[in-house]
Amino acid sequence: MGIRRRSGGFVLSINPILCDGFGHCGELAPDLVHMDEWGYPIITTVPVPLSNLAALESARYAVRGCPRQALRIDRVADPS
């Protein structure tokens, strides 16, 4: 894992149809998600580099912790 060069980035993307506003993602990935006043997530659309392991880990926690499975991690190419 350490040998493979981590290039590119990821975005945490949400399926708003599935989202029921449980708020778990806002607790698990507070750097990527912030909640609107009704408790629905507003997720940053700016790609985060994969080298930001803490952000990637919190995004994985958010995907795993979503009760409606409305989240996924999309990988994007290296932002130029």
Binding site: G23, G39, I43, T44, V46, P49, P67, V76, P79
Partner: protein, 242 residues
């Protein structure tokens, strides 16, 4: 090795049956907590969810011990088939059969949860509703089959567990928020993760991407018109997780 004719397997069956009942009561109550959006201030909502998942694994393990010791024990005539197929036990046909129904329902809920990332979420939810039926069946099974469930503290335990689950069901029905129930005040990862970020000043959050950021942004901000990108520019690898 314990001889199969010794009473210890039978004792194990009785004891693990009661422990399983208490554990599944806790699991159902915690699941109701998650569904009713409890938490977010003192304890995180995600923590209750994790607790619900963890305790359910322990409960399934105790259920497995309960079932295996029942099969292995020769004190009462129940076969391997009667564990899964109702009404095939020689011993207490109806009562053990209800236990088989409960086991099948709990297995369905458990396996569907293990396959949660593979199946549609609506399917998982539909199967998850059967946990109520599974608990109701198992509590009747506990009362009818249980050697200790007719009197004394065993009966008290059954009454307490069924009351807790019944109250959870009523609360689930009446107190369910329509969809979102407000934002949570708790972000336990926020204070340390802000400080742990290298090269990013504290207080700047990636979530506030719409606001103009002052610090060194991880990427040059590109105009993002869509609220969530369906197809990010030149995706290297796309993971379907539906």
């Amino acid at each position: 090795m314990i001889a199969l004719t010794s009473p210890y397997l039978w004792y194990s069956t009785r004891a693990t049956g009661m422990v399983t009942m208490v554990l599944f009561t806790i699991v159902v109550a915690l699941g109701t907590f998650v569904a009713n959006r409890i938490g977010g201030t003192i304890i995180g909502r995600f923590e209750i969810n994790e607790l619900h998942r963890s305790v359910s694994i322990i409960a399934v393990v105790f259920l497995a011990i309960h079932v295996v010791t029942t099969i292995a024990d020769s004190y009462v005539p129940t076969g391997f088939i009667s564990v899964f197929v109702p009404m095939t036990s020689e011993y207490k046909r109806v009562a053990v059969g209800l236990g088989a129904v409960a086991l099948d329902l709990i297995l369905a809920v458990w396996i569907s949860s293990l396959l949660k990332v593979r199946i549609a979420n609506t399917t998982w939810r539909f199967i998850h509703w059967f946990s109520w039926l599974g608990f109701a069946t198992s509590i009747v099974h506990a009362f009818l089959t249980g050697t200790d469930g007719r009197k004394g503290w065993g009966l008290i335990l059954i009454v307490v567990c069924s009351s807790v689950v019944f109250a959870s069901a009523v609360w689930r029905y009446l107190g369910r928020p329509t969809r979102a129930a407000g934002r949570t005040a708790l972000s336990p990862l926020a204070p340390q993760s802000d400080a742990a970020r290298s090269g990013r000043p504290t207080g700047q959050r990636l979530g506030a991407s719409s606001a103009p950021s002052k610090g060194p942004s991880p990427t040059p901000s590109r105009p993002t018109s869509a609220p969530f990108p369906r197809s990010p520019q030149s995706p290297v690898k796309k993971r379907r997780s539906r």
